[in-house]
């Protein structure tokens, strides 16, 4: 358990670095900027005890906030999707707490994985952009920005996930 904690804890440093040095330089149409770091919530091993996941998510979010001057926006939204991710997976697969041992992210079928990631990414991005402007004026703009940015993030996250899971199965 400690070694997995160490392994995923090190992502606190790796993901902000990747986000700032690579993904913040990707800018389509001058405002679509993918938020890749949330891949953390999709690679952290599924477990009934959410304490570790919540704590590391919070720290990761704070690191991103530090680098982007966003107060606590990323910490807030990342902890939120970290808390609800298991619930969404249960709904999608029709399983519950007792089947958790059989559930592995690498064993999920692609459609379920895709829908799971898309839903959580969309929710996360919506919270981030809502908190950024802190009002519901121009709601259509907010939705459009959320939708377009989510599309890009989802594609990148699924690519990243393939790399990550492949590496894990080789090791």
């Amino acid at each position: 358990m400690n070694s997995t904690l160490l392994k995923y804890g090190s992502l606190i440093f790796l993901l902000p670095f990747l986000q700032v040095s690579i993904f913040n330089n990707i800018l389509l149409l001058d405002y679509i900027n993918p938020l890749f770091y949330i891949i953390f919530v999709f690679v952290f091993p599924l477990s009934k005890n959410k304490t570790n996941l919540l704590l590391i998510s919070f720290l990761l979010g704070i690191c991103i906030d530090l680098l982007t001057n966003d107060g606590g926006i990323h910490a807030f939204s990342l902890v939120f999707i970290a808390y609800i991710r298991l619930f969404f997976l249960y709904v999608l697969t029709g399983k519950n707490d007792s089947d958790l041992d059989q559930l592995k992210i690498s064993k999920l079928s692609f459609p379920i994985l895709f829908i799971w990631i898309s839903l959580l990414t969309f929710i996360h991005h919506f919270i981030v952009f809502y908190l950024e402007q802190f009002s519901l004026i121009r709601f259509d703009n907010l939705l459009l920005k959320t939708f377009l940015t989510s599309l890009l993030s989802i594609v990148l996250i699924i690519f990243g996930l393939q790399l990550f899971l492949k590496k894990k199965s080789n090791a």
Binding site: P16, F17, V20, S21, N24, N25, L27, D30, Y31, I32, N33, N49, K50, T51, L54, L55, F58, G61, I62, D65, L66, L67, T68, N69, D70, G71, G72, I73, A75, F76, V79, F80, Y83, F129, L131, E132, Q133, F134, R138, N141
Partner: protein, 272 residues
């Protein structure tokens, strides 16, 4: 009592969740009142050096445009120099008194102009005598006001931020208004509180007004692009900026020798 403890134990993850969200929310609220946000900003050594490194990499791709801007600025300054040397009218200006403003050049290392609330990071800090509440400008526009300063880095409250309001005036008449950004388009800001007597037209130039302590008077900002009149007052005057906020690079931090004195005097006068 035992049941209470059991209740907390059973729901401990939920309480942890609520607790973390509350902390994050407090940080968000604090960041909205900028002058109190002491905790999370990128003017610290670790964040600053990471942003600096990542900027160095992407810098190579921007070199040619940067050269062009600097060359243009050089040309402008040379022209000005020649005018002052050969123009006999200008001899009355007293060159012995040092100027009220001095400028420090710095580089922008983080510029997320796609956000609603922009905060820039510069690669210089208190080691280069930058302090909070100094103006940041370009040769063709206003960038913002410095917020937090560490030894080697500074964060800047950009003009493209819901918290920023900057005093501005018309070039042709001296009517004042204030500039703010509605978050839509980073090439356009809105001019507000301009009296109807200003009689504006599309294409008029807007400059920085002398009323704020942060900026010297008369820096060109942009031209009026569109406006409408409602009930004998202007609504939504759009100003197209001269400066390209998507390509900020070399900027100048303006230090006003008398800013502290002026702010102190003004606040004392209000108190009385």
């Amino acid at each position: 009592m035992l049941q209470l403890i059991k209740f907390f134990k059973n729901n401990s993850v939920f309480f942890l969740f609520v607790f973390l969200e509350l902390i994050a929310f407090v940080f968000i609220i604090k960041s909205h009142s900028f002058h109190h946000s002491k905790y999370l900003n990128s003017a610290n050594a670790l964040s600053g050096s990471l942003l600096n490194k990542s900027n160095q990499i992407s810098n190579y791709f921007k070199l040619s445009t940067q050269n062009e801007t600097l060359a243009k600025e050089n040309e402008l300054l040379k022209n000005k120099l020649e005018q002052t040397t050969y123009n006999p009218d200008n001899q009355q200006t007293n060159t012995n008194t040092p100027s009220k403003y001095t400028s420090i050049s710095a580089k922008v290392i983080s510029n997320p102009y796609f956000k609603r609330n922009n905060i820039l990071t510069l690669d210089k800090g208190s080691n280069d005598s930058i302090k909070p509440n100094m103006g940041v400008i370009l040769s063709n526009g206003i960038v913002g006001i410095t917020l937090k300063v560490s030894k080697n880095f500074t964060t800047v409250l950009s003009l493209l931020n819901s918290q920023t309001k900057i005093n501005a005036k018309m070039q042709k008449s001296s009517h004042y208004g204030s500039l703010a950004w509605d978050g839509n388009d980073f090439t356009e800001v809105q001019l507000m509180d301009l009296p109807i007597q200003a009689n504006i037209q599309i294409g008029d130039t807007i400059m920085s007004g002398g009323k704020s302590v942060f900026f010297p008077e008369g820096i060109p900002i942009g031209t009026i692009n569109d406006f409408s009149i409602n009930n004998k007052s202007y609504t939504s005057i759009k100003v197209r900026l001269f400066a390209d906020f998507s390509a900020l690079d070399h900027v100048y931090v303006i230090s006003n020798r008398f800013s502290e004195e002026q702010i102190k005097l003004e606040s004392e006068s209000i108190d009385e």
